[in-house]
Symmetry: C2
Subunit: 215 residues, 2 copies
DNA sequence: GTCTATACGAGGATAGAC
DNA sequence: GTCTATCCTCGTATAGAC
């Protein structure tokens, strides 16, 4: 019916034949899909449906599903990498450095809650192939360095830096991974609401700082 | 466990027409596959290949892929549920109760490192449907209770019990989920070696106890 | 650049012999 | 109970019109 066609056209504010915009919507939809399902279980059809563009556009711009996946990985990590690169923690005390680092990390993932999910699908499905020759692992290395320094100066208790770095990352990131299991709890605020995210950041930082400090 | 021993034995020297053993090998192989890929991305072909039995045996015993998946979920959680049910923490101090609880949890997942991965996939793929009407969430509820009591008695610092319970679970379980990303580190011992698992348990418990204690 | 239609292979599930 | 062979849906990827 003509009226419906018109309505549809009006609803679809997206400009037609705008290459950049099309790539952007595809990437955004793909990020969600890959976060939920990982590379293998993700469906190109589902991604296309979310965007409103034809499925074949994925192949036009990204060659194949794997190409789109890699573009999403790259794009998702760039914020975190950039942030961590900008941090200058060398002339800070270990406690201060740790707190700054954690705040930055938690801020990043709060702004993009899909990132932890993407990281861990990649970890378990592909054994983290993407991180093998990437600089992404530098994130963890920064944390290990902070912990080593803290142990050396006596600011932190005797702990294994690598093990503790993993556990600390877990404290920060598990919230986003386990959400599906925990969201059934009687809870007034949604887990991704700004208030809850802020509270998570504070609770995580408090737990970690108290956990590593030398008494 | 006798069942698993039988399954392993039959992986080497397969006897024919042993219903119980066949189901056991399928379940064992399926657990690994579902841990790595979750329900959707898991391949029945891959499961069959690992067992040596024909793919159609999966359908004979478990009706379909979903049926097998549910059997694996049930089976994988039973140890943890049983263990947590046996714990009697009521007449212990919050600190002692927390330590016992964590030790039991870490022991369970150390014996079955697939469990956290299975939980993770179920959480993100199915929004934890399996846990909705299951008693599995009781695990977390036990932890929340301990934390509430500790805050009330002043043994623990002021913390949000639910948020902290999630973060604590993350500290314990993330090690197993993030392994794929972390195993590229220069590391003498494999992440699932008894020594590393034991160290992880100790480090996690130390971090958490120090993290919640009132100073 | 974007769409529709379709080829083609992968993978879930079944049939039927043994 | 177990196997082999087969069916058929679903999903990736391509072809070709506009």
């Amino acid at each position: 019916m003509a009226r419906q066609a018109k309505a549809k056209k009006l609803l679809n504010t997206r400009q037609i034949r705008d290459a950049e915009a099309t790539q952007a919507v595809i990437l955004a939809a793909a990020q969600e899909e890959f976060a939920k399902h990982g590379l293998i279980a993700a469906r190109t059809q589902a991604i296309a449906a979310k965007t409103g563009v034809a499925k074949s556009m994925i192949y036009y711009y990204f060659h194949d599903k794997q190409g789109l996946y890699e573009a999403v990985l790259e794009r998702s990590h760039s914020d975190l990498l950039q942030t961590s690169h900008q941090l200058d923690l060398n002339n800070l005390s270990p406690e201060a450095a740790l707190e700054i680092f954690l705040a930055a990390l938690l801020d990043c993932v709060s702004q993009n809650p899909n990132l932890p999910l993407i990281m861990f699908h990649e970890a378990v499905q592909n054994q983290g192939q993407h991180y093998k020759h990437s600089t992404s692992v530098s994130i963890d290395k920064v944390l290990v360095k902070i912990l080593e320094k803290g142990v050396a100066t006596g600011a932190f208790r005797q702990l294994d830096p690598l093990q503790s770095a993993i556990n600390i990352m877990g404290t920060c990131l598990f919230y986003f991974i386990g959400m599906g299991n925990t969201q059934h709890y009687p809870q007034d605020k949604p887990f991704l609401s700004p208030a809850m995210l802020e509270q998570h950041s504070q609770e995580a930082i408090a737990l970690i700082l108290a956990g590593v400090k030398n008494t």
